[in-house]
């Protein structure tokens, strides 16, 4: 069942590998960015509608969620809702992530490994707190779903997503082949999810204003997640938002405390 949200969102995404915020390209190449807490704090100051943390090596290295990072983020007193994903494999871990300050959690490996735990997390925390993550590619008219841990991609099974509609609130669709590529997002991915009764968050190669605007115009798209491209210029979130003023996106704003211009 699709959640009806009044405003569409621009989600600032922070990919974390080995404790560092990184730029990620196609799920196989990475460049360092800095300390995750600095990147997150910055997205909060810029007025992102939501911040998505993806700790990409926690599940594959069986490290569990990055609780120490969540504790650091809690101390920042963020104003922006936080989504955390990475290493959650049990109900207790999911609950603890929320307890440490995340507003929602997202799950990827668990969708492959044990959907029953996802269902129980949904019962415990509420469906609104659960986002399903699906790295996908469009290949000759077929959508393939990546299991990033063993790097295998398999076609989606018929009816598989029906289970999700009662369990997760949104699906985060990642174009993993084009992740980090300028204007790389493959629109064909969206075409294959058009009948899914879930709100969609799109991520992977979304850098181009007109393309983002067009994608956001789809009624099933609730949000666009942007990662690498937010790190190249000052006020990137505000710049994206400014392009959509008067549309159904929260307006951009600029913090002011010690103005040099008004200090006359």
């Amino acid at each position: 069942m699709r959640l009806v949200l009044l405003k569409k969102r621009i989600i600032g995404t922070v990919i974390i590998k080995n404790g560092w915020a990184v730029q990620s390209f196609g799920y196989n190449r990475y460049l360092p960015l800095g300390k995750p807490e600095c990147v997150v704090e910055n997205l909060d100051r810029w007025g992102a509608d939501e911040i998505l943390i993806l700790s990409i090596d926690r599940s594959s290295n069986r490290l569990g969620p990055d609780f120490s990072l969540l504790e650091k983020l809690a101390s920042l007193q963020l104003e922006t809702p936080l989504i955390y994903g990475g290493g959650i494999s049990t109900i207790e871990e999911g609950v603890k992530v929320i307890g440490l300050g995340a507003d929602r959690i997202c799950v990827d490996s668990l969708l492959h490994d044990n959907f029953n735990i996802v269902r129980k997390l949904s019962e415990r925390l509420g469906r609104q707190a659960i986002i399903g993550v699906m790295p996908v590619m469009a290949n000759n008219g077929i959508i393939k779903w990546l299991n990033y841990r063993n790097k295998s991609s398999l076609p989606l099974k018929d009816g598989m997503l029906d289970n999700y509609t009662k369990t997760v609130s949104e699906l985060l669709l990642i174009d993993f082949l084009n992740e980090g590529s300028k204007d790389g997002f493959n629109n064909k991915i969206l075409e294959d999810f058009i009948d899914v009764d879930l709100s969609l968050i799109l991520f992977g190669g979304l850098s181009d204003g007109p393309k983002i605007k067009k994608l956001l115009a789809n009624k099933m798209v609730s949000a666009i997640a942007i990662g690498n491209f937010l790190n190249y210029k000052e006020h990137s979130i505000q710049n994206f938002k400014r392009e959509y003023s008067r549309s159904n996106i929260r307006d951009s704003y600029y913090k002011e405390r010690y103005s040099l211009l008004n200090d006359k």
Binding site: P32, E37, E234
Partner: protein, 411 residues
């Protein structure tokens, strides 16, 4: 002790680099991979992009500056102005932050720069009392004597852009891109407050200091505050990096400036590079020693890695240079002690607190054993590099002597 630190197979950096560094499946680091772009990109095309980028910022009336350019008496400033004045034909307002640890040679270079390029310049002199208070505090807490300098150098140009309503700031190279490959040149990364806080300021902006130190007050830190987002947006301030549009090679650039503008160089005790940082008594001295204490490597590793990437020395030669230089004692501690008002024992006690026990073993009261990154890095002892690799034309003290050259409010 840290075990299993992975090193780049090409340069001397490891995954322990404080800016973050990523090794790929071939064992080559992100910095070396991005460096490869220097020989792949069409730099003529990229220069054209730069020319188009700066065009809207030219003052039509000629009564306003076209851009703000941060400068010092060292580190690429001559080359930056050469590009801006001579190649781009822009009219810049120069800004410089008085770091107080100025060498006579650095002041000479700065004077030379102003005269040869015929530019207006603004100096920022923060009152010395506050600078000393902050330096003392950050030395104790962070093991850093450079916080005020890095904060001042990175904020004064931005404040000036807002106050003078000159939106374009032009910097030289982006340190994160050059060292660890944080960005591709094609990302055309620009100045951000996030990068400044994260990397230049070790995660602490001016206001953060107030919550860390009860020794500091509002009147000490306000000059280091980054302008508000609203102000930046209203003026349209942006800071671009020339290194995204020019094949950045500090050694070649300095040598061009030596030939064309009489840029002066000097040797250092703790590195083989003779061109960078000749404006400061402390950067390659106490500041560099603190880097070795905290990070397990020092600036000579940065210099060697850069020269390896440009193919001017081999990896083994680089590692040999690092081992030759990094344990050399600093030369100018007495100047700093006098400036800060502490004695040698007090200073040594403070800086010992910042030795990273992953890299240092305390054997007995006055004996520390180094187990830093160069001792873990694999390589063969190599022949030395040519003495002519870097050329010196003067000394830090020039003809003036061993003392900080202060101006403005400095005492």
């Amino acid at each position: 002790m840290i075990n299993n630190i992975n090193f780049c197979k090409r340069c001397l950096y490891s995954e322990a680099h404080p800016l973050g560094l990523i090794l790929d499946s071939e064992g080559i680091c992100s910095g070396c991979r991005i460096h490869e772009e220097k020989d792949k990109l069409d730099w003529s095309e990229r220069w054209d992009k730069l020319e188009k980028l700066v065009e809207p910022y030219r003052s039509i009336s000629g009564e306003q500056y076209d851009c703000i350019v941060p400068v010092s008496g060292a580190q690429d400033s001559h080359f930056i102005l050469h590009l801006i004045k001579n190649k781009l034909k822009l009219n810049p307002l120069l800004v410089t932050y008085n770091k107080y640890f100025n060498t006579p040679l650095g002041i000479k270079n700065l004077v030379n720069l102003r005269i040869k390029f015929d530019c207006d310049i603004l100096y920022q002199n923060i009152n010395p009392k506050s600078v000393r208070k902050i330096t003392k505090s950050t030395l104790h807490q962070f093991g850093s004597i450079y916080w005020p300098i890095l904060a001042g150098q990175t904020v004064f140009p931005v404040q000036t852009a807002v106050r003078y309503k000159v939106p374009l700031i032009i910097w030289g190279a982006h340190q994160g891109l050059e060292q660890v490959g944080m960005f591709s040149h094609e990302h055309e990364v620009e100045m951000t407050r996030r990068y400044r806080k994260d990397h230049d300021l070790m995660g602490y902006e001016a206001d953060d200091l107030l919550s860390v130190f009860n020794t500091l007050s509002e009147e000490d830190i306000w000059q280091y505050r980054y302008p508000d987002d609203k102000d930046l947006n209203e003026i349209g301030v942006r800071g671009i990096y020339l290194g995204n549009y020019v094949r950045w090679d500090p050694k070649a650039q300095h040598e061009l400036m030596i030939d064309e503008y009489d840029y002066k160089t000097a040797s250092f005790r703790r590195t083989f590079d003779k061109y960078d940082f000749v404006d400061c008594f402390n950067y390659m001295d106490l500041h560099d020693l603190l880097k070795l204490y905290k990070q397990g490597y020092s600036k000579v590793t940065d210099h060697a890695s850069r020269e390896i990437r440009f193919g001017r020395i081999t990896r083994d030669q680089g590692l040999t240079l690092v081992k030759n230089y990094e344990q050399k004692p600093p030369e100018y501690l007495d100047l700093f002690q006098k400036w800060l008002g502490i004695n040698q024992k007090e200073l040594q006690f403070i800086i010992n607190q910042h030795r990273n026990l992953s890299f240092w073993k305390h054997q007995y009261p006055d004996k520390w054993v180094f187990n830093g990154l160069s001792s873990m890095n694999q390589g063969q002892k190599a022949e030395g590099v040519s003495k002519d690799l870097f050329l010196e034309s003067s000394t830090l003290e020039d003809k003036i002597g061993k003392k900080y050259i202060v101006f403005g409010k400095g005492v």
